[in-house]
């Protein structure tokens, strides 16, 4: 109610991201003072060991957290708006599983090594997963309801998960490197892959902001939206492409990070209401901040040991999901 009226909202979100970004870089096996972190960003000194660690390891990881968090949250918000399904999310509706499966098959099975192809393969997998989940749900008696979509998503995710395990068993050595990535992690990804994914992130976010106004209209029901002049068939295709692009790039960088796209849009709606012209940018900002916090927690909770980011998003997201099912269905 209050956030939407003032400039305070954007300032607070951007401010939090900046603070969390620096804190995120400071945390790790060896904690580095925030001042040194800031210094290394403004006045890089290649002879300082801490600066080199920050530049080569920690800065990329923080950048991954920001882009992936923003993208997954925006993908989730668009899916929820267009399907008017409060449980829609890339993970629950099979997009993450589809993308992971495709990447594992391509990298592990067919030896794909060109980083530029990874988001392409992930996109094909995400699209395949989404179509499969939707097709199964639509054939259930009663059609594609929120619940039948979730069930179908769970089945497809389990099935693809089993196939991934099978591939792993057949060739344990190749898959060893993919094992951690499959739990969802921001660590250890090469900057090279990220650079190839960057146009996908940017393109997806621009499309999301461009269609936000129409998504608000569609969230008011198809008949109302048509009455207002929304070409709903075209809008749905654009949103599907946008969601697939954002999900694919996220998976290519960080593996399957569940529930980010579910949690953030709901929190954002509590803050800014139901106009997607606000929901989309705020989801991006708060999603970025959220994944920074999650990744800080992943490295602090059991320090010096580190848990996968995806494990933390699931630990936080699953109870939220149960709460949503109890209150929204």
């Amino acid at each position: 109610m209050t956030l939407r009226l003032t400039m305070l909202g954007p300032i607070m979100v951007i401010g939090s991201i900046l603070v969390l970004f620096l804190w995120h870089i400071a945390v790790g096996a060896k904690s580095i003072p925030i001042l040194t972190v800031a210094e290394s960003l403004w006045h890089f000194d290649r002879t300082e060991f801490d600066h080199v660690v920050i530049r080569n390891l920690r800065l990329p990881r923080a950048i991954f957290a920001v882009t992936v968090g923003a993208s997954l949250a925006v993908a989730g918000s668009l899916m929820q708006g267009v399907t008017r399904n409060p449980l829609a999310e890339p993970g629950l509706l099979g997009l993450l599983a589809g993308a992971s499966f495709a990447v594992v098959a391509a990298v592990g099975f067919f030896g794909l090594a060109t980083p530029g192809w990874i988001p392409v393969v992930a996109a094909a997998g995400a699209l395949g997963g989404a179509v499969l989940v939707w097709t199964i749900a639509a054939r259930v008696p009663g059609g594609a309801t929120p619940l039948s979509l979730i069930l179908s998503g769970a089945a497809v995710t389990a099935f693809l998960g089993a196939l991934i395990t099978l591939m792993q068993l057949m060739d344990e050595q190749t898959f060893e490197s993919l094992r951690v990535w499959l739990t969802g992690t921001l660590a250890g990804r090469r900057m090279e892959v990220f650079v190839w994914c960057l146009p996908w992130f940017i393109g997806g976010l621009i499309i999301a902001i461009a269609v936000a106004r129409q998504v608000t209209a569609l969230a008011m029901g198809e008949e109302t939206a048509i009455g207002l002049g929304v070409d709903i068939a075209r809008l749905k295709i654009i949103v599907l492409i946008c969601v697939v692009v954002l999900t694919a790039a996220s998976v290519a960088v960080a593996g399957p990070l569940g529930f980010v796209g579910l949690v953030i849009p709901h929190v954002v709606r509590l803050l800014v209401g139901s106009d997607y012209r606000l929901i989309v940018p705020y989801s991006a900002g708060i999603g970025a901040a959220y994944l920074l916090v999650v990744d800080i927690a992943a490295r602090l909770v059991l320090a010096p040991a580190e848990i996968s980011t995806g494990i933390v998003t699931a630990l936080l997201g699953a109870p939220f999901f149960v709460w949503l099912v109890r209150t929204r269905l």
Partner: protein, 284 residues
Amino acid sequence: MLQQVKSAFAGDHDVSGAPVAVGCRAISAGYGGQLILDDVSFGAAAGQITALVGPNGCGKSTLLKVLARILRPSAGSVSLLGEDLSRLPTRKIAQRMALLPQGPIAPEGLTVKELVAQGRFPHQTLLRQWTSGDAAAVEEAMALTDVAALADRPVATLSGGQRQRCWIAMVLAQDTDVILLDEPTTFLDLRVQVDIMTLLHRIAAEKRRTLVVVLHELNFAAAYADRIVMMRAGQIACEGTPTETFSSQTLDRVFDLDAQVIADPETGRPVCIPRRHMPNPAAA
């Protein structure tokens, strides 16, 4: 038994000579394979209120959906202000014709002002987002429907009558020549129904808008509409002015309703009074 009255709509003018703002010719439409409307022609004269009445499930909403391009007819054509609807881009249509569907739902958290502002959607583009003209149209619509005081309340927290007025405000903010409304007064108390019908009457009379309104309350249709179109089983059974269409025979034929029709002593408009059917105590 039920013979279809050949529609008065023939071309761009109806029988009384008024130009038709929105109409359809020989349309067939339905859901899946099932035809609900078969060879139906209909026309709403410009600047008038046309009331669409008929028993539940007779196809009123279906006809409105065809006029509003929500349902594509399998045969026939729809015209809007003299143009073929299927040739107009959907945004252009929305600049000329607004729709209030039956039982619309507002997303949780959407405020009254945001809902009404959605009515400006067809007038905006990606680059030209919000102008003073948009703001003025929203203000005016909220003032007309008396929802300005509710502007910052979430729509979901309002009473049924307040909510309905907000939706009407949204449709008015769209600022179109033609407005289609599906049961705008259902579930509302008598007083609020009167308010809404009065409001619609004002819009048609003062702003020269063409209104097509699906109504269940026959006496409101008779009191406020310029023309009444009675439907039964996917056909237009009868149409004309309230005085022409309201009679014991037509009410029986269209609604299976046993009623007497008298004239309102103040306005002269017809009023129907259903006869009560009570079990005869003597027979018990």
